[in-house]
Symmetry: C2
Subunit: 453 residues, 2 copies
């Protein structure tokens, strides 16, 4: 059977206005999953997702969980066809930092679409959906199950239970996830691994109220300083090296194949710094930079709060301080064991510090099936005239680990976001080139895997 995708270019061209309309609607709902104040927006986001999927011809189910609901869309064309499960998430990061535009009003600038969630992950979700619509119109022999999560940005705390419970309804021959980032603007990636994530808080209280540093400074403990000190004992901020005993246990040795892929990936340190607008890095060696993103764990402090942060200096010693931290984990590190090591290390040194575990997800390494990998390569060539690099991703997608465990089918991580799009950063954006290329990519991919018997 020969593909007939001849109508695809015109379909993409004609779709732009509708794409922009829906992306605007989706971005306008601040589905920030980490802040309970946005719970009503999650409810609005779910309703909007249902409308969108039904408009595109899918039947929908809203599955309640212990947290935010999950929206499932189904397009059953023929029970004889094989089925693909498409995963995206519809929740977003908070829009802190300095934005040039309102983060929740999609702003079009040339081909760019600026707004929180534009590239992570509302834009890619919409892109796949436009490809599904095309596949339907062309009767590509495939059934579709679309899963849109609303808790990805907080580590998918209820997704595992969801997949486990609904294993049968979610059954498919393969899964595709579009929530990853290319190596550079012209280097697509087929991600074969993800880092895991463990987030946790440190809390130290040394008194009931803030005290005057003149009256009490000297004998009085300073909780900000003590948290800073324990963090410095945990790791070296300059190199990123972690001092916690046993932290690196389980880290898989890097294979020479992986190193070779990185060496030939076309990765440029200069370009990476430009895309992310960074002034300097811990290392300038391309192979070092790539490895430390993809193949090595990290230790990161995201905030140390406590004391006065208004204008000027208030010379009090705060009564308490909180630090927010995370570690990214690589195969075969485990979040639970890692948390125990961190907690033990900290409390041995400063027993007054409370160490609270927050979210976590396991690291992931794909066992890729031949035909799906082949289909992805063909589709990437077709859409972007490039060979995808098979590399591990630095980020974490908790849901992938759950789907891998419970569905036991190949999971393809076909991302269409670019480094410059600014995942989680202010001025996050998506663009029409990647959307158009993405529709082409997924349409071709669907057409290819429909042939797998």
């Amino acid at each position: 059977m020969e593909d007939d995708l001849s109508t695809l270019p015109a379909y993409i061209k004609d779709s732009r206005l509708l794409f922009e309309t829906w992306l605007s609607r989706l971005v306008a709902i601040p589905t920030v999953s980490s802040d309970p104040a946005h719970d009503p927006d999650i409810t609005k986001g779910v309703a909007s997702a249902v409308r969108l999927l039904e408009t595109f011809g899918l039947s929908t189910t809203v599955v309640e969980t212990g947290g935010n609901p999950i929206v499932v869309g189904t397009l059953l064309q023929d029970p004889a066809y094989s089925t693909i499960l498409v995963y995206n998430h519809m929740d977003v990061q908070p829009a802190s930092g300095e934005w040039g535009t309102d983060p929740f009003i999609l702003t079009r600038r040339g081909n760019d679409y600026i707004g929180r969630g534009a590239t992570d992950d509302k834009g890619p979700a919409l892109t796949v959906l436009f490809a599904i619509k095309y596949a339907r119109s062309r009767r590509i022999p495939l059934n579709f199950k679309v899963v849109w999560e609303f808790e990805e940005e907080i580590g998918s705390p209820h997704f595992d239970e969801f997949v486990k419970t609904h294993r049968k309804e979610l059954a498919a021959e393969s899964v595709v996830v579009s929530d990853t980032v290319w190596l550079s603007d012209d280097k697509p990636v087929l991600s074969i691994g993800l880092r895991g994530l463990l987030t946790f808080e440190l809390y130290l209280q040394t008194g009931v109220t803030d005290v005057h540093s003149g009256m009490a400074g000297g004998p009085t403990r300073n909780p900000i300083a003590e948290l800073a000190q324990i963090i410095c004992e945990c790791y070296d901020a300059k190199s990123g090296h972690v001092h916690i005993s046993g932290f690196y246990d389980g880290v898989r040795p890097v294979s020479s194949d992986e190193l070779q892929t990185l060496r030939t990936s076309g990765f440029s340190v200069q370009k990476f710094m430009q895309d992310l607008q960074l002034f300097s890095l811990r290392s300038q060696e391309p192979i070092e930079v790539q490895q430390s993103i993809m193949l090595r764990p990290t230790f990161e402090v995201h905030s140390i709060a406590g004391g006065y942060t208004g204008t000027g200096i208030k010379t009090v010693i705060p009564s308490s301080a909180t630090a927010k931290l995370s570690v990214r984990l690589v195969p075969d590190q485990r979040p639970t064991e890692t948390f125990q090591k961190i907690k033990r290390f900290i409390q041995n040194r400063n027993p007054d510090i409370t160490v609270r575990r927050q979210n976590s997800c396991e690291p992931y390494l794909a066992k890729l099936d031949g035909p799906y990998l082949k289909a992805a390569e063909i589709a990437t060539h077709y859409a972007f005239a490039a060979q995808p690099a098979l590399v591990r991703e630095g980020g974490s997608i908790g849901s992938v680990m759950s789907m891998s465990a419970h569905l036991q089918v190949p999971i393809l991580l076909l991302g269409i976001s670019l480094p410059k799009h600014g995942y989680h950063a202010p001025n996050e954006h998506f663009d029409w080139q990647q959307a158009a290329g993405g529709i082409k990519l997924f349409a071709k991919y669907f057409s290819e895997i429909a042939k797998i018997s």
Copy 2:
């Protein structure tokens, strides 16, 4: 000449309602000097101070400076009388932290007056003023000059220039400052020294915008972690010991007299912790605790800001971070030299960090004249039936150093605040016992020094 203070107890009793009325008015104006948003309140505070002084029979002048104005009140009874200059400040700390009441509405609870500035320094200022009013009514042979500053809490940046320029108008035989704290509830203090203060900021920017810790974590520098690290290199949070080379240069050896005074001061570590509501201290030795407050310098971090501090954890690496720090200095350390040492130490280790000097004031050690000291002791006995401890104060009052340098007369630091009053802390309060005792103290002190020829 024998004193006739027989009407004083009745005067104090009759003054309570008026005292409370004026304290309410003063506290109701949030004269927060560290925040430019409160500039209009400073203006209101100045107008209110003028009204208050004139109501009490003083003529007033508002002296403009490069910053907030200074209010000067004069009560010239007879050119033949000697003159005392009374210093207080009318600005306050920001009211951050958790208050049980509105910090800018004076709340009376039994004998306590709760509100920002109640004890630092509006209550003591008012207390001295009631004693001046009494002195006037009893024709105690003394002229009064009252100086109310509105920039004490930000290190008195324009006060030195003010005193220098107005040296002649401010001429007096002695100065009294009421802005210090007793050793304990029943141990009055005649402060013979003050720590100096130097506040500064560290700033580190490593990129333009926050970046995703999955996409970029590993090679990307973390400015919060780097600031935490340099702070840990500067000093040991657990002991408070400072590692900066030369930091302790100039610290005067403690005399055996001073140690003896501390040993017999009745200071209780337990009571200190209770008053300040602290759970534990760096040391439990009374002599260690007292020395580290009064006789030794400190290094303190007040905040490390940067990154997301909202609900939940946002796993981004911030593009910049700011830390606010201070050191308290003791004789004969100097702020300028100390700042240079700190800056050099930090920039040698991390040249990307900007070190910005903020405010400073010199440490102070009194050379007390016999008769004034004697008068203060007599007045303290009269008012509180106790012998004042001659100790150095842990806090810093920049204006004292300026008056000492330019006026060249004895400066008596006669504080009436108690440790439990909570200088700079939430739920700051003053109380009627200390106000009543304070009026008695100052009335007697005025009567005593009027006798000095």
